[in-house]
Symmetry: C2
Subunit: 263 residues, 2 copies
DNA sequence: CCGCTTTTGTGCACGCTTTCACAAAGGCAT
DNA sequence: ATGCCTTTGTGAAAGCGTGCACAAAAGCGG
């Protein structure tokens, strides 16, 4: 029953903690905004506020990159922008392919933030033959058959999966086989990949469910009135006579379309 | 310089760790799939594999919900689906509004996974008057002017922001003022909200940047050849003579459109 | 009715993250 | 120059999350 393919063991590459890496883009965005307003320097306090984090955390994060600040003054905005960009690998160009040009895939293709950060949409790929050649966001959609060729010719190492869940693993396998080593997955599935391949997941449904949890919690504690009667246990665990949903509204398997997608 | 509005202090509501809550939707999805195949029971090992986590972790997670398993046998699928659904608050209906019907907003509106999980798109809202009345995913878009009325009349407590970054905070404020207490933010901005309001963020750009970091790391260590010369320091920190990007390709401020959006 | 097998539930230890608190360091005014 | 004020950089401590390893249960066969 072993997965056969392992999951990244939270490597913490080269001393920079994963948690810090995840915040660097946040800092970078705040710094870029300051840079555009020609602000020369920022204190950790100001920048932390702009990024929505604690100032101590920010200073510690930056300390992993080196001592780029000046005591009594703060951080040089331009310099820090450069350093973080370099650390994140944004000083080079990353060709990216998007697989699955449905509603979401198209939206992703149109995303303006791609180019401005060193990412370049090298190709759009879809399995539907009727899509082939059709331009989306100015880029003609190519057929899945050419996936391997596209990856290799463009030296793509980052792939975005926006296909239905059913196709995701298969697409993933092909991407990996062709040389992709980083995947951003919008399909509501757990992808299994060989060691050395990074997968990050974006899932609207999961985010909403987490919000619902907290929402329910809020509603059930503060007011102490209005419904939310958690009583009435559904059925016995060993017996199999439990109705899944209160009503029968169960429109389809769900988990068959990526985070955002109609068909 | 104080933000004035606080961020959620990782409350860990009522004993269930935040990390566990974040995994419950994952388990639920795997369980739903099993349920559809009429599988009566699962062991923690099997379910963990399906959800892509460690079995010990899964068991510990479930232990926070109660003892719903049977030793020597495993977990009753239907029963567990019900329990997790209830815990996440999915046994009730959550009306949701989507603000900002651009490329991404439209994709979200078309998302099929909404209804199947207890979420219902109550309304689509956009600031563009020319959008008003136009049906998207079968729902007519309404104007921002009516935001408050819509929220109140439908008892909406969860809002999705898919506007450009510039409008996000303003929309957020109005949502909160109207009674929304949970927000899913797709705009690349840090939202500040009063205490008691939950915000979750989805940001394509950040995910890609994190991938790029690891990608660069991989490329710079394993092969030990091919470029990746980290030498050539850019400039002095105190002096302000650093060019931000290697080339001048800086198309726009970025951070002005939500995660996915053309205009 | 007993013992064997399976699988859960969890005590415990380890490592990562966050936060505090403060000494070191830089700049500026006098 | 000297001293004061500001802000960084970082030990150290506390808090979480993860995973191991195993005892406690439940079922089953003899």
């Amino acid at each position: 029953m072993a997965t056969g393919r392992t999951h990244r063991p939270a490597t913490r590459s080269r001393g920079i903690p994963e948690a810090t890496v995840a915040r660097l883009p946040l800092y970078l965005r705040a710094l870029t905004a300051l840079s555009e307003r020609s602000v020369p320097t920022v204190s950790s306090e100001e920048l932390a506020a702009a990024a929505g984090v604690n100032s101590a955390k920010l200073r510690k994060d930056f300390s992993y990159l080196g001592s780029y600040g000046t005591r009594g003054v703060g951080y040089d905005v331009e310099y820090l922008v450069y350093q973080i960009s370099r650390e994140l690998g944004l000083t080079q160009d990353w060709p990216v392919v998007i697989v699955g040009i449905g509603n979401l895939g198209a939206a992703l293709a149109n995303y303006g933030g791609f180019a401005s950060r060193g990412f370049r949409v090298a190709a759009l790929i879809d399995a539907d033959p009727s899509m082939t050649g059709k331009p989306v966001a100015g880029i003609p959609v190519q057929h899945t058959d050419d996936l391997e060729t596209i990856i290799e010719e463009n030296g793509v190492s980052i792939g975005v999966i926006a296909t239905p869940a059913g196709a995701a693993q298969q697409v993933c396998d092909r991407l990996v086989a062709a040389g992709v080593t980083s995947i951003l997955n919008f399909a509501p599935t757990v992808l299994s990949v060989p060691e050395g391949v990074d997968v990050r997941k974006v899932d609207l449904s999961i985010e909403l469910q987490i919000l619902a949890f907290h929402e329910q919690r809020k509603a059930g504690e503060e007011p102490a009135g209005e419904g939310a009667a958690d009583t009435a246990p559904p059925a016995a665990p060993p017996a199999a006579s439990v109705r899944r949903r209160t009503d029968g509204t169960d429109s389809g398997p769900d988990g068959d379309v990526p985070a955002v997608m109609p068909a």
